[in-house]
Amino acid sequence: MTAHGEWGRYGSAMSGLYGPPRRKVGWPVAFCGEEVSMDKRAWPALWAAIMILGLGIRISQGTELRIGASVSQTGPFATEVGPFGALLKAWADELNAVGGILTGGKRIPVRMFLYDDRSDEATARRMYERMATVDQVHLMLGPYSSPLTFAASTAAELHKVPFLAICANSPKIYERGYRWIACVIDEAPRYTYRYWEMIRHEGLARSVSFVVEDTLHPKGVYEGARALAQEAGLRVLSSQIAPRDTRDFTTLLVRLKEEDPDILFVSANIPFAIQFMAQARDQRLRPREFHVTHHGGPFLKALGTAAEGVTGQSYWTRAMRGPGADRFLKLLEAARISPDDYPWAPAYMMALQVVEAVLAGAPPLDRASLMEHLKASRTETLGGEVWFRENGVGSINTYPSQIQGGSYQIVWPPELATAPHIYPATKDGNRK
């Protein structure tokens, strides 16, 4: 055997076959069927090139902010956040056009790593693993929904990467003692507290029935809403929990018709809510008010006039204004997103405002420092002040809104309301 081991031996044999023997120095490499060898003098140059390249990468990592995020561009959650990748990109492009994000008085470029998680927990977890290990991001923005965030945040915790959750408020996410997670919004049980505050203040409704999609966020919202409804003096007639893929609600609808509640509270994501509402209208279910927690644009678009009068939850509407409202609308325009179609877009803007505020505090660009600054931050955003509790839960909550004349109106609290609450919502509701 030669000094070059097996490779050297095969190299010699091959050269014997195809031509006169050549002096072999270094490792021979097969290239397009031909053997080429590398001169010893080439090695130092190669190593130098690798070192320079590696150093280059480190330098570029040090002078840019790398942010990773996944968006459900496909799958059931696409109805809620499908085009938000374009919003995140529009934000990064806007900053990079002026030199990048401001930190310590200077600007550094922002680089976004965006993936489609297909509304699937396993895919989301894989994408966030990739962001932590391959893309080497400094900061992660969470995916949409509690189940996906539950899965994705484990990757952040494992690799110690700051993880800013956006639309994920199931308490189960924050009960695990994770240190690398913070969330823009408040916990699910308080999600509808303003709605119940309004119902108590009005004193018109007497009873409520619940229909709940059997997934983390809707169940968390329901648990809080049930207690809040009772505190508001309403009688809870029933609570029906149905699987996410339920397509036939007739059994529930027959029971609900017998119960005849004043408020029918549907805690569900959009595909479930559309299916339920379409069948409820078909079968002439007439509560005085339908409250559908997720009643965003695709819901209105799919149901048309059948969605009129439905109340639900919104983080923000145009009429509310707030810090950064004009900029937000410009970004939405650049991303070709209508805020009416995608009511969770403001929560994403709030997260981006938090990122800007944290960076403005000039933390060193390492993950631990970023996390420390993130948890300690207090930021005035579009939807109010964002701050974080010890377990990472944020401070932003939704406002009750109602579909009136085909558009969304905030109906409570009075100081922010853009239109009065219509109750009962339709003439159907005056049946008693």
Binding site: P76, D248, T250, T251, A278, D282, Q283, R284, A302, L303
Partner: protein, 284 residues
């Protein structure tokens, strides 16, 4: 509440109509060639999604859309199942290869469907005012689904009993080698059966799109449900598929009423081994 509320029974029947049409498509391939085609659910789901897209953008009447999509489904199936495939999978042990090929194709089609229709399809809400029978309401697309399922079963029954190809398909049980000795080109016949089967499944997709919200990932659930119904129905008999489809829909509604909606998807997989244990060739 009564043993089975009329509204729940009617809704179950409408859901069962989709199961029945999907099962007829599955049964047409399975009952003749003996091959399980797991792409049936994909034909259903893609057609349902395409229906929503078509109705939103064109003013074509629903009847023409249904006919057009069913024929397109059959033609697409013909193109995607070339003679070479049949030469491969009609050999001994070829059924396993067919199963894997169809599931692989289904997954590839899912990626395509996700790309084309990232949002769930919602043609269901194109429905007008519901029909009212006493205190029972039924949306017209659901009534139409029940009628179409019965018509499809009768048409397929006639096809199998009145045409030469249909009779040859029914004779497949005697074995493809024997069929070939009497001059039947089994490769062509299998290709034809698959085209008809997937065309029927596409018709089921129209019914699905008219009555339910559907997303691209649901195809495998629909394939398995139609397989269960086809197997329980037994043999190559569209009338048995119709009966089992309707019964499954009503049965699921009943389970949903008494045990809760989370239990109804379990009915078909629970019934399947029980029925096959009692009658190896299916319930009917």
């Amino acid at each position: 509440m009564t043993l089975l509320h009329p509204q729940i029974a009617l809704q179950g029947l409408a859901t069962g109509a989709i199961y029945a049409v999907a099962a007829m498509g599955m049964q047409f391939i399975l009952g003749s060639t003996g091959r399980v085609h797991l792409g049936v659910g994909q034909a259903l789901v893609m057609t349902a999604l395409f229906l929503g897209w078509t109705l939103e953008r064109t003013g074509i009447p629903l009847g023409w859309v249904m006919l057009g999509l069913s024929v397109s489904g059959a033609l697409a199936a013909r193109i995607m199942h070339p003679p070479a495939l049949w030469r491969h999978v009609l050999r001994e042990q070829g059924d396993r290869a067919f199963l894997l090929i169809t599931i692989g194709a289904g997954m590839a089609m899912e990626a395509l469907a996700q790309w084309l229709w990232p949002l769930p399809g919602m043609a269901s809400v194109a429905a007008g005012a519901p029909l009212s029978l006493s205190a029972v309401f039924i949306a017209w697309p659901k009534g139409l689904a029940i009628v179409v399922s019965a018509s499809a079963a009768l048409s397929l029954y006639a096809l199998l009993h009145r045409t030469r190809r249909g009779k040859a398909l029914r004779a497949w049980d005697m074995g493809s080698a024997q069929l070939e000795t009497v001059g039947v080109d089994t490769h062509r016949l299998a290709r034809w059966a698959t085209s008809v089967g997937l065309g029927v499944a596409a018709m089921g997709g129209v019914l699905l799109g008219m009555t339910q919200v559907v997303s691209a990932q649901e195809w495998i659930a629909w394939s398995l449900k139609s397989l269960c119904v086809a197997l329980i129905g037994g043999g190559l008999n569209p009338l048995s598929a119709l009966a089992m489809g309707w019964a499954m829909g009503v049965g699921e509604a009943w389970v949903s009423q008494y045990l809760g909606p989370q239990w109804h998807p379990a009915l078909a997989p629970v019934l399947l081994p029980l029925v096959l244990r009692l009658r190896s060739r299916g319930a009917i």
